[in-house]
Subunit: 297 residues, 4 copies
């Protein structure tokens, strides 16, 4: 049964997600701050709105996927924000990775209009978005979650209910904590081995023979060995997520000594101009520190 959906944010992830909803037969009204990005959606017969408010008007679901906490606040509470038009009974699905605290505040605001809010953070690359194979971590009311499932199933193949509002984001930040560190320490190990004289391929073979093998490092290693850092997930966004995770640690009283160190390594990499590259480019910062390269010979 097709739904009327407002879709806000047509970036790397939002674009293919919106297209998949159209293909699945939903009626979409899309909005993006930079209007030009709406062109492909218009061509695929979406309506184009000029404000978030217009996109949300009359929608059963409003999906948001924008850059950061400030952008979500602007889209919801700002002038011409969705709060001006959101219908009672509607559901907002926010897939932006933002502060759980801000997300809960948004949930309160839309509740004041009789609408519901789900934080539905997402993992998976642009590729996963295109194939509808994303994983969603969802926080909010369970019944709202279940009502939103038919829409979420168009976008992803795994939908994990994490608990009340904000907990989808908490889970996502914990996940990125693990993911960013898994990659960074792989790079520290590679650089140590390389400087000692062990070939990167040998080091990879050893890791792959061990329990510590991860699909992530299997996938990233060939790119690292070639020095190809075409962004699957830009380093600056990973750094931003780690800052959110540290702030969550502060808010919850959870010391995170290792993440604290890892975040500064990504931060230093970004400050060296690597922010737009894939986050695996963190290896090049470590290489520069040590004066060695782990590239294939």
């Amino acid at each position: 049964m097709p739904n009327t959906i407002g879709f806000i944010g047509l970036g790397i992830m939002g674009q293919p997600m919106a297209l998949n909803l159209l293909k699945a037969g939903h009626r979409l009204t899309v909005y993006n701050r930079t209007a030009g990005k709406a062109e492909p959606l218009k061509a695929a017969s979406a309506q184009v709105a000029l404000t978030p408010a217009a996109a949300a008007k009359g929608a059963e679901f409003v999906i948001i996927i924008v850059t950061d906490s400030a952008a979500v606040e602007e889209v919801v509470l700002g002038k011409d924000g969705i709060l001006e038009t959101i219908a009672s009974g509607a559901t907002v699905i926010d897939s932006s990775t933002i502060s759980p605290v801000v997300s809960r505040k948004m949930a309160c605001h839309v509740a004041g209009k009789g609408a519901s809010w789900l934080d539905a953070a997402v993992t998976g690359s642009k590729h996963g978005a295109e194939k509808g194979e994303l994983t969603f971590m969802v926080g909010g009311d369970r019944q709202t979650f279940e009502r939103a499932l038919p829409v979420l199933r168009v976008l992803g193949k795994k939908h994990i209910y994490c608990g009340q509002n904000g907990l989808g984001l908490s889970a996502k930040l914990a996940q990125n904590t693990i993911q960013a560190t898994t990659l960074e320490i792989f790079c520290e190990g590679l650089v140590l081995a390389a400087k000692a004289g062990v070939a990167p391929e040998t080091m990879l073979e050893i890791l792959q023979s061990s329990l510590a093998r991860a699909a992530l490092t299997d996938f990233k290693a060939p790119f690292i060995f070639k020095g190809d850092f075409t962004p699957y997930f830009p380093l600056k966004l990973m750094h931003k997520d780690l800052e959110l995770a540290m702030e969550a640690g502060f808010a919850h009283g959870v010391p995170m000594p290792t993440l604290a160190a890892v975040k500064e390594v990504y931060g230093a990499s970004k400050a060296q101009g690597k922010g737009e590259l894939d986050y695996a480019a963190v290896v090049t910062f470590l290489e520069e520190l040590a004066g060695v390269k782990v590239r294939s010979r």
Copy 2:
């Protein structure tokens, strides 16, 4: 073709390794500082030596697997050490995890007697030792490595040649850098999620749906959730290996900012009396810091 082998060090790993060599038909003379540990080997028809020198006398291969750099130096250079009896043409296979610098020094000493030295660090638990499924990372002369392969094949199923003397150890230290951090950051993520209100099982499911999934965390998670820290690999030994990795970083001029933080977390865990537990007990230190448990409810 059976070999005459001196075997030094009958601890958790050494005991089953020696038994496998006997089963494969090799002639063993075993030595352990605490003599009682030689009993099962004697029962399995090994000769028992009272000094390292006696164990090495007339042996084609001498296998060493003891605690640390000081123990290896004692076994090789000390009074009644193997240097007193090692035959020209013999090969020493040292599977202890020690400093690559000390290992190279030992290689020089035995070379002075016309014998060869391989550093052959090993990964895999007691279980892997029993089943002959260890992975060896080997440094030394390639021809010596190939000559030792028939013996090493009895003990493990994977043998990775890493380069000149010491490089097996360098690779092992880089591997443990990755492994220890992979587990520690999994625990930091679990604790953050748990304090925020996400169930550990949910967090695990999310990780398992992602590229960052590792066999290591799949294996350790049930033990962590039960609070069962029966040692597969004692935390104090992991801490020692990380100290060796940091020293290697110092020696090679490789800054390791994340490992530096991780090592202190293991060190603090050890100082809290968790050194004899499995290294996954690092989670209990992080739990105590945050005042929350990630155990199953």
Copy 3:
């Protein structure tokens, strides 16, 4: 020449500051969220307001010194906030330690009413507040700063102009970065020396014979050696300031690897229930990690 001053926030620092302004002959209208704290001021002939708006009404200067960014936002932008009544030409002096970003936002809001804003972060304890010996780090328009100096001179003896809005806070966060670390590393050094067997007094004598001697450690050492952690500056506030400093580092693209580690040590101390103690209580966390005390024998 006496001024009409609205004074908001009567905590440990605010209370004596307001009293000093009254003693200097200024006309004060005070406000505090918990009304009872206004009693001593009322006794000293201040007017008592029931809202921030009422305190700001008709005031030439409005002084704010509250807990955190959220409290400042509430006092300024909230219902009955000062924005409702602030006079054109008035000057707000905010001595709260908050995010420079939030501070600049407040400056814009009051500018919209024709008023001026100074961020005037303060160092010095309750003691310094009582004696009017605080140091102020001030950001904002230089002419506004100079116009405010007569009032600021009642409160402190040193007033350092740091530049445009927010830069007083940036300087304060950098200062606390240095101060918190200076104390923490003194404690790490003491604990290492004590565990090795060097008496704390000997270690202090050595430090005092060196260039690294600081008045801070001279002052704190006797309290540390007695285990007296009566709060001069509560650990939880220092931890909050370090979080703000880390967020400033994130915002400005400044990696801060050492502060990142230090902040987690204070965070862990807070999580262990030491938040209300003086920040020198960080030593007890380090002592617990190491299993040793640096107290006098």
Copy 4:
């Protein structure tokens, strides 16, 4: 009363120390690995020995000040080392900064010859050595310490007895932990302030108005602001001392989370080619990370 003294190690510190002993009327036989460095001493009427053994022969005191643990072991235990000639009743004063463990081993070796050993680590620059104003931290038997005082008083003006053998070194490593971090965090704070827009001179003025002021930062600031890193104490030696402090932490079971981070910052600075500069050059590494300079304008 003049003594017969063997003096081993004529580097930046050793050279002026030996000259002061000559001036004070002692009879010196000097040794340096690179013989040329003995020339100025010879000109000042010292005897020149060609081996450590020759320098120690017949000496009441043997003073050693060389680079690292390996160098001390070579001088004491190596071929033509002092162990071959040291007289019963003689006292060795080792002012090298080395591992306390190695130092205690040396103490045992010379005890076997009836001689005594003091570890007498030193702080103070080349300048302090020239003026005889060094501070000594001494470990060993107290009577031996008192017997050595007349000689030590020629070299320094402060002599702090720390306890048994090795404890002078333990204290010195704790002191350098504090000193290196005090400087590094000053630089982190300066860089944060500078990137935010606060002038370095303003930041320094703020620090100087606070309890956290240290003579160390007062002294180093002008050099930092000019970018003058002429070595008073080379960064690579500070890095080495921090590695020794971390190893001491490992040996004693003392987690040192902040020092761990600091050490990697110095390590990265060294790896960037700054090892021969003054350790204040750590600021340039932090500047490069952040893309800003804290130099005077």
